[in-house]
C-alpha cells in the first residue's frame, strides 16, 4: 500500500464559519425556550442544610427551581464504567458545585432568580485545597520500568537532577459549556458542544433512567474542546431534567466562572528527574518521580511516563507516579494532558545535561536515536524525530549558535536565546462504523464517529472522499458528532483522524465496487451522481466497520455501546508515537525582563499529513498553547477558601495576538504504513509537547537562568 501526499485545500467548513452561519450548541432557536441558571455553592466542603426557593420563585418570569429532591438517586454502579457526574446533591465536595437550577422565561430572570437563592450550609472547615495542605492523601500508582535504572545510574559518569513544576490550568475553549435540552414524544434531544456525544448520552441515560432510544445528543460543531469537553458534564442532566419536568426546551450557557469550578482542568504536577550519561556523553539511565493534584474520587491517571522513555532510546528507565488527593473538582484531560508537562520537565532536564556536558543541545539529542519502546520492548512503527530536529535546525538557522548562555545581546541590552525542545504523543486509534451514501440527486453523505472542534476532522474526511470518488464536493455532508447518525466515540487524544480516515477510505472503495457492480460493465460517463441517474438508481449506500491494529469485535462492540474503545500506543507488533521538534527564539528585556517569543520553527512527524492546511493551523495552535502554558497560564487557589481565584479571562491570562510572533511549521510527511492504510498518525497534541521546554531552554540560553516552574513570570527574571 502507498499513500501519496495530499493537496492543500481550504478547510471544508471555513465558509460557514466566516459567515457566522455555523451553529454551535447555544445557537439553536427553539420555540417556547426557557433559560436556566445554576446556583453555585459558596463553600468548599460541607452540606446544604436549608435551601429556600421562595425568593427565586417571586422573581417575575421564574417558572421552576430544581433542587436535590428533583433528581433520581445516583444510579447503581456499572462494571467497567465510571459513574456519571452527580446531579444536584446536598453534600458539597467543592466550591461552585451546583446546589439548584433556576428556570425562567428569560435569561435575565433566570440569573436574578439564581442570585436570590442563598442556601444555608453546614461548612466543613477541614477541607484541603492545595497539594501541600494538611489532609492531602498521597496514592502511588504502578511504576513504569524498562531495564534497571538503579544499576545503570551507578555507571553514569555525568548526572543531572532537578525538580520541575507545572501549575493547574484550565482549558478555556472560547465556546462556554452549554446545553439545550428538548423533551418531545418521549425522546430527549440534547444540543451540547462536546467531544463525546455518546459519553453525554450514556450519562443522561443512567442519571435520568432513560433508554438508548430515548436520548439523542447532537454536537456537530464544537467551539473548541481541548479535552474539557471530552466527557459528560455535571450540568447536562440538570438541564435535561428541567426540560423533562417542564415539557419545554431549556437552555443553559454556563458562566465561565462556574466552568472553572465544575469542569475539568489540568492538575498541578511535579517532576523529580535524574538523568545519567556515560563517559561518551550518552544518556543511559533515567529516574523520574512524578505526582499530581487529584480530587478525592478523581480518575485522571498520572501518566507522566507515557512519552519520556520514547524519545531518546535510553535503555534503563524507572518512573514512579502518584496522585495527591485533595478537595477539588475532578481534574482531567487538557491538551497534551501529561506529555506537555512531562516534556517540559524531561526536555528541560535533557537540555541541562547537555549544558553540563558542554554539547550543543541539537547535536546532543541527535546522539540518541529511539528505535524501540524500552518499556514494552517493541519496535516503533516509525519515528522521525531526528529528521524533525535536522529539518528544524536548518530552517531556524541554528548553525553558529554560541554554546554559552548570555552571549547574544542586542545593543539595547535585550538578551536573545535560542532553544530546542522535543515532544512525542501516543498514536491511538478506535474502531469506526461508517455509512457512505451517494445519490443520483448530486448529494453525498458520510456518517461516522468523530467530533469537529476545530482540528479539521471534516477536512480530513473530505480529502479522502474527493480523492477517491467522483462526487460533487459542494453537496457533501459529513455527519459526525451526532448519536443518531452513527455510534460516537470520544474524539480526543489525537486519535480522531487516524480513526476516521481509514473508514472513509474503505467506504469509498466499497462504494466504488458497489457502483461498478451495478453498472455491470456499462460506462455512462460523468461523476457518480450522473452514473447513478443514468441507471435510474436513486442512491447507493455502503457501511464499513474499521478497527485499529490488533482490534477486533470486542472493540467494535464497545464502540456500539458508546464506551471507550481506544487502543495504543502499544500494539501487538509495534509501538506508535508522533514526534515534534520546536526551535524557539526568545528576547528578554534588559530591565523589566519581559520574555517575548518572536519566532518559532516546529517540524512534526505525524505520518502522512491528510489535510495540509488544517494540519499547519493545528501545529501553530499547539505552539500558541505551548507559549501560553509556559509564559502565561496558571489557575490559583487560596488555600483558606478553596475554589479558583482567577476564574475569568481577564485574570486567567491566556496568550493574545500580541503575544505571538511568527510560527513556521513543517512536516516530515512520511506515512506510517504499519499503523493504517493512509499512514496517518495523530497531530493535535504532539503539536504542543516539547514547546514549553524549548522556551525554557531558550530563556536559559538568553540569560543563564534556568526556570523550572511554569508559568515563567516577570518576577522570575527580575
Amino acid at each position: 500500500m502507498t499513500s501519496a501526499p495530499f493537496p492543500n485545500r481550504p478547510r471544508v467548513d471555513a465558509l460557514d464559519k466566516v459567515l457566522g452561519a455555523t451553529k454551535y450548541a447555544a445557537d439553536y432557536a427553539l420555540p417556547n425556550l426557557l433559560y436556566a441558571m445554576q446556583v453555585p455553592a459558596t463553600i468548599a466542603k460541607g452540606r446544604v442544610t436549608a435551601l429556600s426557593i421562595d425568593a427565586a420563585m417571586r422573581v417575575a418570569g421564574v417558572v421552576k427551581v430544581l433542587t436535590a429532591g428533583d433528581f433520581p438517586p445516583p444510579p447503581a454502579a456499572q462494571q467497567g464504567a465510571p459513574p456519571p457526574p452527580a446531579t444536584i446533591t446536598r453534600d458539597i465536595a467543592y466550591r461552585g458545585q451546583p446546589v439548584a437550577l433556576v428556570v425562567a422565561e428569560t435569561l435575565e430572570a433566570a440569573i436574578q432568580g439564581a442570585e436570590a437563592i442563598r442556601p444555608t450550609y453546614a461548612a466543613d472547615a477541614t477541607f484541603t485545597a492545595t497539594i501541600d495542605g494538611k489532609g492531602a492523601v498521597r496514592q502511588p500508582v504502578q511504576p513504569t520500568v524498562g531495564g534497571n535504572a538503579t544499576t545503570a545510574m551507578v555507571q553514569a559518569v555525568t548526572r543531572h537532577s532537578a525538580e520541575y513544576v507545572s501549575p493547574a490550568q484550565h482549558h478555556n475553549p472560547m465556546e462556554m459549556l452549554s446545553t439545550t435540552a428538548v423533551w418531545e414524544g418521549g425522546v430527549l434531544t440534547v444540543y451540547e458542544g462536546t467531544q463525546g456525544s455518546n459519553a453525554v448520552k450514556g450519562a443522561l441515560m443512567r442519571n435520568l433512567r432513560l433508554t438508548s432510544e430515548q436520548v439523542v445528543v447532537k454536537s456537530p460543531q464544537v467551539g473548541g474542546g481541548f479535552g474539557q469537553k471530552g466527557g459528560a458534564q455535571r450540568h447536562t442532566a440538570l438541564v435535561a431534567r428541567a426540560a423533562m419536568l417542564l415539557g419545554r426546551p431549556v437552555k443553559l450557557v454556563v458562566p465561565r466562572g462556574q466552568i472553572f469550578h465544575n469542569a475539568s482542568f489540568r492538575p498541578k504536577n511535579r517532576h523529580r528527574i535524574e538523568i545519567g550519561a556515560d563517559a561518551a556523553g550518552k544518556m543511559i539511565a533515567v529516574r523520574y518521580d512524578a505526582d499530581q493534584q487529584q480530587s478525592r474520587e478523581g480518575q485522571f491517571p498520572p501518566n507522566y511516563h507515557e512519552t519520556p522513555p520514547m524519545m531518546y532510546g535510553i535503555p534503563d528507565y524507572h518512573g514512579t507516579a502518584a496522585n495527591i488527593r485533595i478537595d477539588t473538582q475532578a481534574p482531567g484531560y487538557m491538551r497534551a494532558p501529561t506529555p506537555h508537562p512531562s516534556s517540559f520537565a524531561f526536555d528541560s532536564a535533557v537540555d541541562e545535561l547537555a549544558v553540563k556536558l558542554g554539547v550543543d543541545p541539537v547535536a546532543f539529542r541527535l546522539r540518541h536515536r529511539a528505535t524501540r519502546d524500552p518499556i514494552d520492548d517493541k519496535p516503533f512503527s516509525s519515528c522521525f524525530l531526528h529528521e524533525c530536529l535536522s529539518e528544524g535546525a536548518r530552517r531556524f538557522g541554528w548553525k553558529g549558535r554560541p554554546l554559552a548562555p548570555g552571549a547574544m545581546v542586542r545593543p539595547d541590552g535585550t538578551q536573545v536565546g535560542w532553544g530546542v525542545g522535543c515532544g512525542a504523543y501516543p498514536a491511538n486509534v478506535h474502531p469506526n462504523i461508517a455509512t457512505l451514501r451517494v445519490g443520483a440527486d448530486g448529494t453525498t453523505r458520510f456518517a461516522a464517529a468523530g467530533h469537529e472542534m476545530g482540528q479539521g476532522i471534516r477536512s480530513t474526511i473530505e480529502q479522502i472522499l474527493v480523492r477517491d470518488l467522483a462526487i460533487d464536493p459542494a453537496r457533501l455532508e459529513i455527519a459526525i458528532g451526532d448519536t443518531s447518525v452513527a455510534p460516537q466515540h470520544v474524539t480526543a487524544g489525537s486519535w480522531g483522524t487516524a480513526s476516521v480516515v481509514p473508514a472513509a477510505e474503505q467506504a469509498a472503495a466499497k462504494l466504488k465496487a458497489a457502483i461498478a457492480e451495478l453498472l455491470a460493465g456499462r460506462s455512462p460517463g460523468g461523476n457518480l451522481h450522473r452514473q447513478l441517474a443514468a441507471v435510474r438508481r436513486p442512491f447507493v449506500q455502503v457501511e464499513v466497520t474499521t478497527v485499529g491494529p490488533g482490534q477486533g469485535d470486542k472493540d467494535v462492540a464497545r464502540l456500539r455501546q458508546g464506551g471507550m474503545a481506544v487502543s495504543g500506543p502499544e500494539y501487538p507488533a509495534f509501538t506508535s508515537f508522533s514526534y515534534i521538534a520546536h526551535f524557539v527564539e526568545v528576547h528578554v528585556e534588559p530591565h523589566t525582563r519581559r520574555i517575548r517569543v518572536p519566532r518559532v520553527v516546529s517540524i512534526a512527524d505525524c505520518g502522512r499529513v491528510v489535510s495540509p492546511r488544517t494540519a499547519e493551523s493545528q501545529v501553530r495552535g499547539g505552539v500558541v498553547w505551548g507559549i501560553s502554558a509556559c509564559l502565561r497560564e496558571a489557575t490559583e487557589v487560596d488555600p483558606r477558601f478553596g475554589g479558583w481565584l482567577n476564574n475569568d479571562l481577564a485574570d486567567y491570562v491566556v496568550a493574545v495576538n500580541a503575544d505571538i510572533g511568527e510560527i513556521d511549521v513543517g512536516f516530515i510527511d512520511r506515512p506510517d504504513m504499519q499503523f493504517n492504510s493512509l499512514g496517518a498518525k495523530g497531530l493535535g497534541e504532539v503539536a504542543m509537547t516539547g514547546c514549553a521546554a524549548a522556551i525554557a531552554n531558550a530563556v536559559f540560553h538568553a540569560t543563564g537562568t534556568r526556570l523550572r516552574e511554569m508559568p515563567f513570570r516577570i518576577e522570575d527574571l527580575l
Binding site: 467548513d13 495552535g621 479571562l649 496568550a655
Partner: protein, 204 residues
C-alpha cells in the same frame, strides 16, 4: 406506558406520560430558522418594558426589551442573530464584537437599551449582498480560524482594524487585534488575513 422505561427505583421512574404531563397544549418543539430576517417586532418576553428601535444590519428593528438585556443577548436570543458569540460575557474575550455606528464594540457589555436609534452591524450584515466581504474571503484563504467560535468577532474586529488605519504593520495588527482571544491559536493566520486585505488597499 407506551415506551416508558421503568427502572428498579419507582421514585425515579420517568415515563412519557409523567414527563409530558406539563406539555399539553404546547406546540411541538421544532427548530425555526434563526437566520430569518426580522421585519416585525418579536413578541416581547416577560419583563420587557423598554421599546427600542435599533437599526440592525440596515433594518429598523423595533423590539421591546428588559432593560437589563445586553446587546449580545438581544441579538442572539430575541433577534436570532447568533453570529456574535458569548465567550465570557464580561468584555474579556472579543467573541461578541459587533459594530455600532461603524465602531467595534463588545456587545456583551453594551446595554441593549443604548442602541436605540443606532446602527448595529453584525457578521450577518457585513457583506454586501450574497457575496463575501474581502475579510471573510481572506480568513478562508489564510485559514485564520479553527473551531470558528471566535471568528465572527475576529472578522468584525479585523474590518475595524483596517478602517481605523491600524493595519500598517504586523506588530500594529497584533496589538489592534489583541482584544479578540482565539484559544485555538489562529493568530498568525489572522494577522496574515488582515495584512493581505490591507495590502490590497481595498476599501472595507
Amino acid at each position: 406506558m407506551d415506551g416508558g422505561e421503568r427502572s428498579g427505583d419507582d421514585s425515579s421512574t420517568i415515563t412519557r406520560r409523567t414527563a409530558l404531563g406539563g406539555t399539553a397544549g404546547l406546540a411541538a418543539a421544532v427548530l425555526i430558522d434563526a437566520g430569518a430576517a426580522v421585519s416585525a417586532a418579536p413578541a416581547p418576553p416577560p419583563g420587557a418594558t423598554l421599546l427600542i428601535k435599533p437599526i440592525v444590519n440596515g433594518r429598523v428593528t423595533p423590539v421591546t426589551i428588559d432593560p437589563r438585556t445586553s446587546l449580545l443577548d438581544l441579538l442572539r436570543e430575541l433577534l436570532g442573530l447568533t453570529g456574535a458569540k458569548k465567550g465570557c460575557d464580561h468584555g474579556q474575550c472579543g467573541a461578541c464584537t459587533v459594530h455600532i455606528d461603524g465602531r467595534r464594540v463588545a456587545s456583551c457589555l453594551t446595554l441593549a437599551a443604548k442602541t436605540d436609534g443606532r446602527a448595529v452591524t453584525t457578521i450577518e450584515g457585513l457583506a454586501d449582498g450574497d457575496g463575501l466581504h474581502p475579510m471573510q474571503q481572506a480568513f478562508i484563504d489564510h485559514d485564520a480560524l479553527q473551531c470558528g467560535y471566535c471568528t465572527p468577532g475576529q472578522i468584525m474586529a479585523a474590518v475595524a482594524c483596517i478602517r481605523e488605519g491600524k493595519a500598517t504593520s504586523r506588530a500594529s495588527i497584533r496589538e489592534a487585534m489583541s482584544g479578540n482571544i482565539c484559544r485555538c491559536g489562529a493568530y498568525v493566520g489572522i494577522v496574515d488575513a488582515i495584512a493581505d486585505v490591507a495590502g490590497k488597499g481595498r476599501r472595507v
